[in-house]
């Protein structure tokens, strides 16, 4: 009799909590509000700080349509705000792309620059600029195609042989080297291939023109929306291919759709800011620390945090070493490189899973 009782103990909770309805999961709203406030503060700071004399009241006047000094207006509209917008868009897109790529490859070391997606986009941008110098509107399209080609290559490598996580990263680095050689080759043949932006190869947003942001911004908006819609599949894919298949998810289609979306995001970012590295690697990790692992939440929070990070770093790169200016990509690499090494060391134990 006691035997039967013990076996029944698992059912004693039956019905206990069924009436509670929707789960009492802790709310994300305060954390998202904090990230939004952070982004606004950073953007305002980046708009008003710098060698030229512009202050917060000028910015406020511009936003409200109130009259303001012509010089201040000129600096805000033509220099500072395009630059802030470019940094925010690039950071947002790269961080979201990183969150998607880490999810779809189930690999914490992956990010658009580490696996060669940025380099693929960069090569395509330079090649299209060299071949069709007049067609500037081709740039975002070329960036997307290049990013997609690189993402597909990495996907095939990772799916083909059951490669370990580090092997995928190494293959991505090899791709990065190949695309990098291609970029250098283009620049040797046609040194003027990309004059539009300084620091394309390390990533920078100096000299951004507002009219160049329209198409990438549209791509980023579409990519963000699509990645949020695909997030539930990313969660299910983390259960492994067989389980995901049995749960009714088309595994190959879902993975390819997610990688395409990541390529759209990363390609758009590269067409704005060049080969800006490590945003997509660092930000999703920081976000998971504060927000947990639900893909939808991680992608949304990464987008906000990535924008804040790149705007803040660009501000520092611009102001800290005045009168010199450093491309923001250099600062990102200084931050991200050590973090990547830390992740590699941390993942060493788990790499052969």
């Amino acid at each position: 009799m006691s035997f039967a009782l013990q076996h029944g103990s698992g059912r004693s909770a039956r019905g206990e909590a069924l009436g509670e309805g929707v789960s009492c999961r802790s709310s994300y709203a305060p954390r998202f509000a904090a990230l939004t406030v952070l982004l606004v503060v950073v953007c305002v700071a980046a708009a008003v700080m710098g060698p030229s004399d512009v202050n917060a009241s000028d910015l406020f006047a511009l936003l409200c349509g109130a009259p303001l000094d012509e010089g201040a207006r000129n600096i805000l509209v033509n220099v500072r705000l395009p630059r802030v917008a470019a940094a925010a868009l690039a950071g947002c897109a790269l961080a979201a792309a990183g969150a998607v790529i880490q999810g779809v490859l189930n690999n914490p070391l992956a990010s658009p620059n580490v696996i060669g997606v940025n380099a693929g986009a960069g090569l395509a941008v330079l090649a299209s600029a060299a071949l069709f110098p007049a067609a500037a509107m081709l740039t975002p399209v070329a960036a997307f195609m290049g990013a997609l080609a690189a993402a597909t290559a990495v996907f095939l490598i990772s799916a083909g042989s059951g490669a370990s996580k580090l092997a995928v990263i190494l293959a991505g680095m090899a791709l990065t080297a190949i695309f990098g050689a291609g970029m250098n080759a283009v620049l040797i043949v046609d040194p003027d291939a990309y004059v539009g932006s300084s620091g394309f190869l390390v990533g920078g947003v100096a000299g951004t023109r507002i009219d160049a942001l329209g198409a990438p911004a549209a791509g980023i908006a579409a990519g963000l929306a699509a990645s949020l819609l695909l997030a539930r599949r990313l969660d299910i894919l983390s259960l492994g291919d067989a389980a995901a298949h049995a749960l009714g998810v088309g595994v190959a289609q879902s993975r390819f759709a997610c990688l395409s979306v990541a390529a759209l995001l990363a390609g758009s970012a590269v067409s704005i800011a060049g080969l800006l590295g490590f945003v997509g690697l660092v930000v999703p990790h920081l976000v998971r620390y504060f927000f947990g692992h639900s893909s939808r939440v991680v992608i949304a929070a990464s987008a906000l945090a990535g924008a804040s990070l790149v705007v803040a770093c660009d501000l520092v790169a611009r102001v800290a070493f005045a009168p010199y200016e450093v491309p923001v990509g250099i600062l990102m690499a200084l931050l991200g490189g050590p973090f990547f090494i830390y992740l590699v060391l941390k993942a060493k134990g788990a790499s052969n899973e």
Binding site: H7, E16, G21, V22, D235, G248
Partner: protein, 293 residues
């Protein structure tokens, strides 16, 4: 082509009948066979795994599949789950009315659920894992609704993990983890559940608990389960029917006592089976054959 459409249509008709009925009625309308495999051939590359394999799984039972290593047990589940397509033969659901391969991924997932032997550990709570089971029931882009949450909660309750719902799956014991995965399968609400060695990573106590739980959800819930099991004692104790496989073929299937005493196990595993009286019926022990046999 039209054959597939017809099969799909009759499957949907059977579905409508079952979903319209109350749970009690649904059990009475139950179809004679939940899974039928006819003359199935399957090979990985050039190595044949199944050759002319036949199996009928009656509805409403827990069926165990046993057999020596490499006899193709797991492959049978993969074919039934639609993870692979047979090179020849048929894999049919719903009393033979529809082929697994003719269903879309979502339709199939509403009919068959599958627990692989090994899965990467997800970064989810038990509740989030259970909600994954609802994927095939949700519209493409629709948010989760109260019905999904209720189904997941009922499933966690049935699997005895409702108290653990906010715990990360990573932090659970092996037995709790398997029950959490079972909750995911239950919230998927498929009438046929396929379990690939659900007890292989568990200690003997947790293994007994897991299989008695599976037996209960099968019998109480009008479901059918097929479990590949390594442990013959567990298989004979908990399964309603046992299928014995060897070298890619079905050697026979039947009630546990018939399988144990009819020589099937002895032939498949080349062992000697001895029956003992036990407090709760009978049990069997398994012994090597003498070397000269």
């Amino acid at each position: 082509m039209s054959g597939a459409v017809e099969a799909g249509a009759s499957a949907l008709a059977a579905d409508a009948r079952l979903f319209a009925a109350s749970p009690d009625e649904a059990r009475r309308i139950s179809l004679p066979y939940a899974l039928t495999m006819r003359d199935v051939d399957f090979a990985y590359g050039k190595a044949p795994v199944l050759k002319g394999f036949n199996l009928g799984v009656p509805s409403g039972i827990l069926m165990g599949i046993v057999g020596p290593n490499g006899s193709g047990k797991s492959t049978v589940l993969k074919l039934a789950a639609g993870l692979a397509a047979p090179a020849a033969g048929e894999v049919l659901l719903l009393d033979g009315s529809c082929a697994v391969g003719a269903l879309s991924a979502r339709e199939r997932a509403r009919q068959v659920s599958y627990l692989p032997q090994r899965m990467p550990l997800p970064n989810m709570t038990v509740e989030e894992l259970a909600l994954c089971g609802r994927h095939a029931h949700r519209r493409l882009l629709a948010p989760m609704d109260a019905r999904d949450v209720r189904a997941a909660h009922t499933a966690m309750d049935e699997a005895g993990v409702l108290r653990l719902k906010d715990r990360p799956v990573r932090e659970l014991s092996g037995g709790q983890r398997q029950r959490a995965y079972l909750a995911m399968l239950l919230s998927q609400d498929a009438r046929l559940m396929l379990l690939d060695e659900p007890t292989s990573a568990l200690d003997i106590g947790a293994a007994h608990e897991m299989l008695s739980l599976v037996r209960r959800v099968v019998h109480d819930g009008g479901r059918t389960a097929v479990a590949v099991l390594h442990d013959l004692d567990l298989a004979l104790r908990y399964c309603d029917e046992i299928a014995v496989m060897a070298q890619g073929r079905l050697m026979g299937q039947g009630a546990p006592s018939d399988v144990a005493e009819g020589g099937l196990l002895e032939e498949a595993f080349r062992i000697i089976v001895i029956r003992h009286a036990a407090p709760d019926g009978q049990c069997y022990t398994f012994h090597p054959r003498p070397a000269d046999a």
